[in-house]
Amino acid sequence: MNDITKQLLSLISDFDPETGFTGAFNIREDTGCAGRQNSQNIEISSKSDKPGIDIRVKPGTKGETVYIPACVTHSKVDDLVYNDFYIGAGADVVVVAGCGVHTDGEESSQHNGIHRFYLEPGARVLYREKHIGTGEGSGQRIINPQTYVELQEDSYLEMDTTQIKGVDSTQRLTTGVVGPRARLVVREKLMTHGEQYAETNFEVDLNGEDSGADLISRSVAKGHSKQLFRSRINGNVRCTGHSACDAIIMDEGTVSAIPELTANDLDAALIHEAAIGKIAGEQLTKLMTLGLTAEEAEAKIIEGFLK
């Protein structure tokens, strides 16, 4: 594992350069594997037909964390990976993914991670992924994550996804099929600046009675960056669906929010909320009366908003 990978791992996960990860992990570095470890209950194996891994969590596994970060450490890398998670019935685990792309050269690098989650009845997953771009090169840092989620009855998946900085272009697609009494929660936090572009697409089918989805995006668009947020929820049975896009625009930044809610059942209750605007002047004024400068107040408001 090279030093840039170690730095990126520290930024996108709770990686300790001295002790590494505890428990099951797989570290992807520039399309290769830089380390792997299984635990008693979590088995990671390479796919034979395409790049990527299968992660199998035994039924009833509780309290374990599996780390599968991916790092691109130089220009001119085009990485595509398929990672499939099979979460056994009644398991309750944390999955930490995340991706860092570093370029020092003029040519672009990109990571396209396609993650599929299959949760058996009653399983619970907290899925955390953090994306970051680093390096001084003019080459674009591109991360396009795709997540597909299939939730069987009474299962629950919460996805916390964060793009901190430095990613020039991202297209994020999250799709889900939610079974009876299962619930999908997605919390996205995005910060774009410069000439960056970020696109988020949520597509969820609520197919099981009393299923639910909660898709929440908070974002800040600075500089000349552009963001597009599209959420599509289909309520096909008695269910509850909620999506929200809450965005702060600064400088010349632009944000578009496009909801599409379809109720195919009389008892489908679907809600979309969108609030896009600049930082309220009274918020800046309030923090300035506490002794912060306008710049410090702005930074504190954004820090809190994306916390």
Binding site: R218, M288, T289, L292, I301, F305
Partner: protein, 240 residues
């Protein structure tokens, strides 16, 4: 000591209205001064002028002899002016802990200290310290947090713009205690905009602002009787 010298404020909204007209006022150190008067009389505007949120079109503001008329909101805050808004501002993502810590100007404010400020305003620290100061809090809760923030600031001059507004369930006695504690701890001046007779009653001095002009100013014992009609204050909103 705060001195307002010939403060006027005109707004050009088509009618060239004069919100403040040649206001002269001195608030000595350690004094508890209540500004009262009819709605629309310029009280909140005057408070914002002192805090630097609005600039006067004429006149000078001196703090401890130093001309602060051109000083920014931030500079005045650093010089020791605290300001509790009439309408508290909400923040998505910032918690009560964040706001009180920012107000105290200390990164290392302990939970114990934050809890003390929250208890002072009648809020249970355990229930509120990690709550986001967003729309999930009621107007009354936000008002108490606003007051807790100025308590944490411990400034030599603290301005409250209608602190009683929205504090309906909290006993008024607690609010009076807060002012007493603040004076004791900071030994500073407190300037309160209020219509409430019970707040007027604990003032050292009362100022009446009406139609943008300072119409009366003097010790409470001289001014208050003139404001009262029987057992009611001329400017109070139904305290009976």
């Amino acid at each position: 000591m705060l001195q307002l010298q010939h403060i006027s404020l005109q707004v050009e909204d088509g009618a060239n209205r004069e919100i403040l007209k040649d206001v002269n006022l001195t608030v000595d150190d350690g004094r508890f001064v209540v500004i009262t008067g009819p709605n629309g009389g310029g009280k909140s505007t005057l408070a914002k002028v002192i805090a630097g949120i609005l600039a006067p079109t004429e006149g000078r503001i001196l703090l401890d002899g130093r001309d602060i008329t051109q000083a920014s909101i931030t500079e005045r805050a650093k010089m020791g002016i605290g300001f509790a808004f009439q309408q508290p501002v909400r923040f998505k993502g910032l918690t009560v802990r964040d706001l009180i810590t920012l107000a105290a100007g200390s990164e290392t404010l302990s939970d114990c200290d934050i809890g003390r400020y929250l208890r002072s305003v009648g809020l249970c620290p355990r229930d509120y310290i990690d709550r986001e100061a967003n729309a999930s809090l009621s107007g009354g809760e936000m008002k108490r947090i606003e007051i807790a923030m100025v308590l944490a600031r411990k400034t030599p001059l603290t301005i409250f713009d209608e602190p009683e507004a929205g504090i309906d369930l909290w006993s008024f006695g607690n609010l009076i205690d807060v002012f007493a504690d603040l004076r004791r701890e900071t030994e500073g001046s407190v300037l309160i905009i209020s219509h409430q007779e019970r707040i007027l009653n604990i003032a050292d001095e009362i100022v009446v602002l009406s139609g943008g002009s300072l119409t009366m100013h003097g010790p409470k014992d001289e001014i208050l009787p003139g404001l009262l009609r029987g057992d009611r204050c001329a400017f109070c909103r139904g305290e009976e």
